[in-house]
């Protein structure tokens, strides 16, 4: 990738950051926190996007950002108050800006219908005068087919343009002390001037005081320059562009003597013929006006070719930007995480060996080991923190969803976020976006009532969707709640019966009815609207959360609203597992799947056909899977009465009972990919290494159940799954 493409990529990355900054700033302003710092940050975000977009000639983006920036500037300087209706337009403009950025990134142009109306709204707000419209947009708006073409005028600056005659200018230049105060230099200006043609310079130093009275910062010299050039006065003035006002300047054109033209012509012909030097043909100059001046300097264009040093060694010396953050490739971090995982395992193994060696608990070895253990844990946590990201960016994306869905459904909704600083693994954050979007869509689409209904129920017309994140015992709890109508249980039940998900006479608790919405194939909406539906049910949401090693639960109160609670692991590199043994093998069952563990009593286990068994538990029957047998560790079934049953919940809330010999431990294990080290093994998700150095397989509960279901499917069908 060439450098420009890399910078472009950086630009779009930066746009993402700026857009997030913009959105959070605007939301804060919307809440009434329009302190100067926030307003400035918001302005800067749009300003930065415009600056970068200009560099890449993303004209639509520049045009929109310019108008938007003007609105924000008006707010910044206090000409416009951040009133709700203005903030509403600003938030919409931020969305459009994001769309324009996205389109530019994909190398496309956003449909004008999608952004011109908002542009006009912004323009109306900022009341941009006619003159500036032409500058930024007017011309283009009038002719949509017009494509700006970049013209190259560099040739015009080329010396000795044949159609222009050489003229002589007399320039009087007297710097003021401010000129030097701003680090401008007379000699540099003269050097620039010399590039334009041949010149004679006379310095007037009569104002120079005696050394004792000399002010080091004072301006004492004045210059008179005779410049023979083909350039016009405007170009000469341009040399003094930076010091205009900081000096006395007069430029007068003296009529060009005819022989000067001839001389110029001769020089040019010689140059074109490759003659060695122009100086041979150098004509005699007119004497400068004040020839009596003490200092004299003759310079020519050829003399000022001081190009900086060659670029090759400069590139070598290029200094990397220093900043509070560094960017590191993911695979490096993952490698580090992996190594730390090994370290944790190694440390555990060492602990076990030392305990086996029989050291006294107060001995120096044990004390040292404890310290090592603590250190290892800290290293592990710190390394995991590298991958961690605050959920802030994720939450910010949701506020746009809220606005869009509220607009599309005619409902009024606001998003309240809490705990945005909570951090989770980057991958978890990324993979949370879809389920969260869906939950928010649902909360507004299904949860919130229309403003009229809300008013009738004595609620504020604007509904609130709350999104919060908290850390709780090594996991992140994310909640999506609304203050809407809650789940319509009668309807959910009716739908579930109609779809054959439950038996007509099934007795379900409120919570069980609420949980029916997670079943595959459940949808309360007759037609799939593009708002809540999108053809995706809550079962997909649940499956995504489970795939992340998380769990989701719902609590709903009629008339008051619903709350979805998701509990997620901080990282995907470690797993909370239950270490169990069966047929002499050690296995790990992911804790997220486990509902409870129990010892079956006689009479709880019923045979079903040749080799299928079911377990009766609190009035319902669940399929019983002998793990040792299912995995082929043994052929004879275990005696359920001397075994332990682990009740698990899999996709679609199906319950199953796993039969194992004993539970050993419950602990965090470092996940090691089996595919990367060996190959895929059915029913096994991954592996880990235990403290004693043995490899333990982590059970893929869903796969195991799905395969076993083939055997016990009939049993499953006969008993309604009451959960």
């Amino acid at each position: 990738m060439d450098t420009m493409a890399t910078i472009k990529q950086t630009f779009f990355q930066e746009c993402e950051e700026q857009l997030a900054e913009l959105e959070s700033g605007l939301l804060a302003m919307n809440e009434g926190f329009a302190d100067p710092e926030t307003v400035n940050a918001v302005f800067r975000a749009v300003h930065s996007i415009k600056g970068g977009a200009g560099a890449f000639r993303l004209d639509d983006l520049v045009r929109f950002a310019h108008i938007f920036e003007t609105v924000l500037d008006q707010i910044r300087i206090g000409h416009l108050a951040p009133a709700p209706e203005i903030m509403k337009i600003s938030l919409r403009a931020a969305d459009v800006l994001a769309d324009l950025v996205a389109a530019a990134r994909d190398g496309e142009r956003l449909d004008e219908a999608k952004w011109l109306p908002v542009l006009e709204e912004c323009r109306a707000l900022s009341d941009i005068p006619e003159s500036e419209r032409g500058d930024a947009a007017g011309g283009i708006a009038a002719a949509p087919d017009f494509q700006p073409v970049r013209a190259n005028f560099d040739d015009i600056d080329a010396p000795a343009a044949p159609d222009r005659a050489q003229r002589i200018f007399t320039i009087h230049f007297k710097p003021k002390r401010e000129l030097y105060g701003n680090a401008n230099e007379s000699v540099l200006l003269l050097r620039e001037l010399a590039r334009l043609g041949r010149m004679t310079v006379a310095c007037d130093a009569t104002a120079l005081p005696l050394l004792g009275e000399l002010d080091a910062d004072g301006a004492y010299f004045a210059w008179t320059i005779e410049l023979a050039t083909t350039r016009d006065e405007a170009e000469i003035r341009e040399v003094f562009e930076f010091v205009e006002g900081d000096c006395e300047l007069s430029i007068d054109c003296v009529a060009a003597p005819p022989q000067q033209d001839v001389a110029a012509l001769i020089r040019r012909v010689q140059a074109e013929m490759g003659a060695p030097s122009a100086s041979a043909a150098s004509p005699s100059h007119q004497a400068p006006a004040n020839a009596g001046a003490p200092l004299r300097l003759v310079a020519s264009a050829e003399a000022s070719q001081d190009r900086p040093a060659a670029k090759a060694d400069a590139a070598k010396d290029e200094i990397a930007p220093s900043s509070a953050t560094i960017r590191v490739a993911f695979d490096r971090v993952d490698r580090l995480i992996n190594l730390v995982g090994e370290l944790v395992i190694n440390q555990a193994m060492l602990s076990q060996r030392i305990v086996e060696a029989g050291f006294a608990s107060g001995s120096a070895v044990i004390v040292g080991l404890d310290e090592l253990q603590q250190l290892t844990r800290e290293i592990q946590e710190s390394v995991m923190a590298i991958r961690a990201q605050p959920v802030k960016s994720l939450f910010q994306r949701m506020s746009r969803i809220v606005r869009e869905v509220a607009d599309a459904t005619g409902k009024s909704a606001r998003l309240k976020t809490e705990g945005e600083a909570a951090e989770i693994d980057k991958t978890v954050v990324e993979r949370l976006a879809d389920p969260l979007t869906h939950l928010i869509r649902n909360a507004i689409g299904h949860g919130l009532e229309t403003p009229q209904q809300r008013a009738a129920r004595g609620k504020p017309p604007e509904g609130t969707v709350r999104l919060s994140a908290t850390h709780r015992s090594g996991r992140v709890i994310i909640e999506v709640s609304d203050d809407g109508g809650g789940i319509d249980r009668a309807r959910v039940r009716e739908v579930a019966i109609r779809r054959g998900l439950i038996a007509e006479e099934a007795q379900l608790t409120d919570s069980e009815i609420d949980n029916l919405i997670f079943l595959p194939g459940f949808s309360t909406v007759a037609t799939l609207s593009n708002i809540s539906g999108r053809g995706v049910g809550m079962d997909v949401v649940k499956r995504s959360i489970l795939a992340l090693g998380g769990r989701i639960a719902i609590v709903s109160e009629p008339g008051k609203g619903s709350t979805f609670t998701m509990s997620l692991p901080l990282t995907l590199a470690v797993l909370d597992g239950m270490v169990v043994s069966t047929s002499g093998q050690t296995l790990v069952v992911p804790l997220t799947a486990i509902v409870e563990t129990l010892r079956p009593r006689s009479g709880d286990v019923h045979a079903l056909g040749m080799d299928a068994q079911v377990l009766a538990i609190r009035g319902s029957f669940v399929p019983l899977i002998d793990v040792g047998q299912a995995l082929g560790f043994r052929s004879a079934p275990a005696d359920p009465l001397t075994s332990v049953v682990i009740l698990i919940e899999t996709e679609g809330r199906a319950r199953n009972a796993l039969l194992v010999d004993a539970i050993q431990d419950q602990r965090q294990v470092v996940i090691k990919s089996l595919e990367a080290n060996y190959r895929h093994v059915p029913d096994i998700a991954a592996a880990t290494i235990l403290g004693d150095g043995r490899v333990a397989l982590i059970l893929d509960v869903d796969a195991l159940v799905a395969r076993s279901r083939g055997i016990v499917a009939q049993a499953d069908l006969q008993f309604a799954e009451a959960g």
């Binding site: 930065s48 600056g51 970068g52 680090a183 401008n184 230099e185 400069a314 010396d317």
Partner: protein, 122 residues
């Protein structure tokens, strides 16, 4: 020994673009992300020959940065070019009052940029 240019801009994109153009032209480039960082760089790193700074920046904006540089006797003679988005007269004047030597109008091409630096670099 090539000249050192300190670029001060909060936008990574701009810093990269400045870096690209200046390194190509044979300069050495140091970078700061805001005015405050720019001052730190001045004190810590080698003294640059020219400073190119943005105006809108967090922490310490371009105007404040220029004023601070001009107040320090060690750095007051360093030429400072400001980056402005428009050929905005008001901004230019404010920058000049703060002590800016000249300006570069964004979006700049590398010719314009290098030209402006040459004009102020001793």
């Amino acid at each position: 020994m090539s000249k050192v240019i300190l670029t001060v801009d909060d936008s990574r994109t701009m810093r990269d673009m400045l870096n690209l153009a200046l390194v190509e032209a044979g300069y050495r480039v140091t970078q700061a992300v805001d005015g405050l960082h720019g001052l730190e760089m001045l004190r810590g790193e080698e003294t640059p020959h020219v400073i190119v700074t943005d105006l809108n920046m967090p922490k310490l904006d371009g105007f404040g940065f220029i004023e601070a540089v001009r107040r320090d006797a060690r750095f007051r003679a360093i030429p400072i070019l400001v980056l402005t988005t428009e050929s905005d007269g008001e901004k230019k004047n404010r920058a000049r009052q703060a002590g800016a030597t000249g300006w570069i109008v964004k979006p700049f091409d590398s010719v314009k940029l290098v030209d402006a630096i040459r004009r102020v670099a001793a």
